[in-house]
Amino acid sequence: MNKLTLFGLGIVGFFIIVAIFAPVIAPYNPGQIDIENILTPPSSSHIFGTDSLGRDLFSRMVYGSRISLMVGFIAVGIAGLIGIALGAIAGYYGKWADTVIMRFIDIMLCFPTFFLILAVIALLEPSIINIMVIIGVTSWMGMARLMRAEILSLKERDFIYAEKAIGASDLRIIARHLIPNAMAPVLVSVTLGIAGAILVESGLSFLGIGVQPPTPSWGNILSEGKAVMGAGWWMMLFPGLSIFITVLGYNLLGEGIREKLLK
């Protein structure tokens, strides 16, 4: 494994640990308002400073990592379920099932995803669950294509014919033999997809239609920071940097896995 991949893995691991142990790591309650300490710059008592309501920024960032990562994982999980299932069906059954699913993917790819999400969120309420679902159902197409391509080549292998010969059902062949053997490239797509989902969530929250305050997410902390940009640089620097580093981490990890697999 090369150094960049390890670096990516380190970043990903670090933020997952921060998210899991948020209550232990955060020195303050992320919602605790302190009127006497509004917008104080980073100091020894508040290492990332405080926000415009006097809340400890470091604690909010730590709790925000939970939201950002959760949105990333669950949104990609939803996309993965849809993409793997439809890709496997299209690849295995071929014929009209393939035609219908592939044309549906073509149609889905015609929508500018971010604006589709904006429109849907504007109609529904911007809750965390809605955001995860909408990101998930608009980002499965790449995985479906990868899965289909893998299965097209796998299904001509002798071990699949052997399964048919011993009387295995289609469901057994797809779920136990084809999908597990086709997962490797999809895994790359999942890793890169998490980075994409974190970015979309941050973007939505920055525009004020993502995760709603007072629940902290990196995107809405950044959004609050925008209002006080001149008075508190730390309000934009830390969330911006966190998003940047996390996305970089997932991308490096994904690229590393891809390289390893192509070798």
Binding site: R157, D158, F159, Y161, A162, A165, G167, A168, P180
Partner: protein, 267 residues
């Protein structure tokens, strides 16, 4: 017409022990504009070892897959014990599959790379529920021992096995359904010479002990001559000659068969 065929095939099974009747089977591949199997008809008698020779790419493996209904045919019919396999309910076909098995040429491609050897066999029991869960492990070990492997192989992955060992696993898997008829699709041609003899001996021994019927596909006339009762010669999708091994080898009628025999003698 169909009724007659069905009844005729049933009679031919009960009177002459024609286990499998292949009638005018055809399969083309549109992409390549060729007929891989071109109106092929033959019968397999119960308990015999029927050889099928021909150069690579002549349609032998496609024929094997058609006979087991692993591929769909364009035309023709297959009768197994008088049952028309192309006009059979899904349920009946599932039951019939048990009787018809196949051993593949490439033992590296015929095992799921992620599946442990024990699971490969146990899966068959899981599908047919013919062995109770408590007995599955002991039956699996018994079967592995039958093919010359043992308990130590249960938790190994195919990548940890040699080609010969993998082929033995392939044979064990085919035997797990307790079949009557096995297609051996070039079962030894991708193995080392020393291993070839071991696997051939195992196949012959199993055939005698369990009174199995084989369709034995090979491009090696020596192998065919040593184990087959009858032989068929295939060239570009067509069966051009068939008969007892002795007749075909001593007195070939078709020019292509003569060429095949000559090239085999030269080696």
């Amino acid at each position: 017409m169909y009724q007659n065929n069905q009844r005729g095939a049933a009679l031919r099974y009960s009177n002459k022990m024609e286990l499998l009747i292949i009638d005018n089977l055809r399969k083309g591949f549109k992409k390549h504009k060729v007929r891989a199997v071109d109106d092929v008809s033959f019968s397999v008698f119960k308990g015999e070892v029927l050889g099928l020779v021909g150069e690579s790419g002549c349609g032998k493996s496609t024929l094997a897959k058609l006979v087991l209904r692993l591929l769909g045919a364009d035309k023709g019919s297959i009768f197994y014990k008088g049952k028309d396999l192309f006009n059979i309910s899904h349920n009946d076909m599932r039951k019939t599959r048990k009787d018809l098995q196949i051993i593949f040429q490439d033992p590296y491609a015929s095992l799921d790379p992620r599946m442990k050897i024990g699971k490969v066999i146990e899966e068959v029991y899981d599908i047919y529920k013919n062995v109770s869960e408590n007995n599955r492990k002991s039956k699996t070990i018994e079967l592995l021992e039958t093919v010359g492997l043992g308990e130590t192989y249960l938790n190994r992955l195919p990548s940890e096995l040699s080609g010969g060992e993998r082929q033995r696993v392939g044979i064990a898997r085919a035997l797990a359904t307790d079949p009557e008829f096995i297609i051996c699709d070039e079962p030894v041609s991708s193995l080392d010479i020393s291993v070839q003899a071991q696997i051939l001996n195992l196949l012959i021994e199993l055939q005698k002990r369990k009174n199995l019927t084989y369709l034995f596909i090979s491009h090696d006339l020596g192998v065919i001559g040593s184990i087959c009762d009858r032989v068929m010669v295939m060239q570009s999708g067509k069966l051009i000659e068939s008969g007892s091994c002795e007749n075909v080898f001593k007195n070939p009628q078709h020019q292509y068969t003569k060429t095949l025999l000559e090239s085999a003698l030269l080696r």
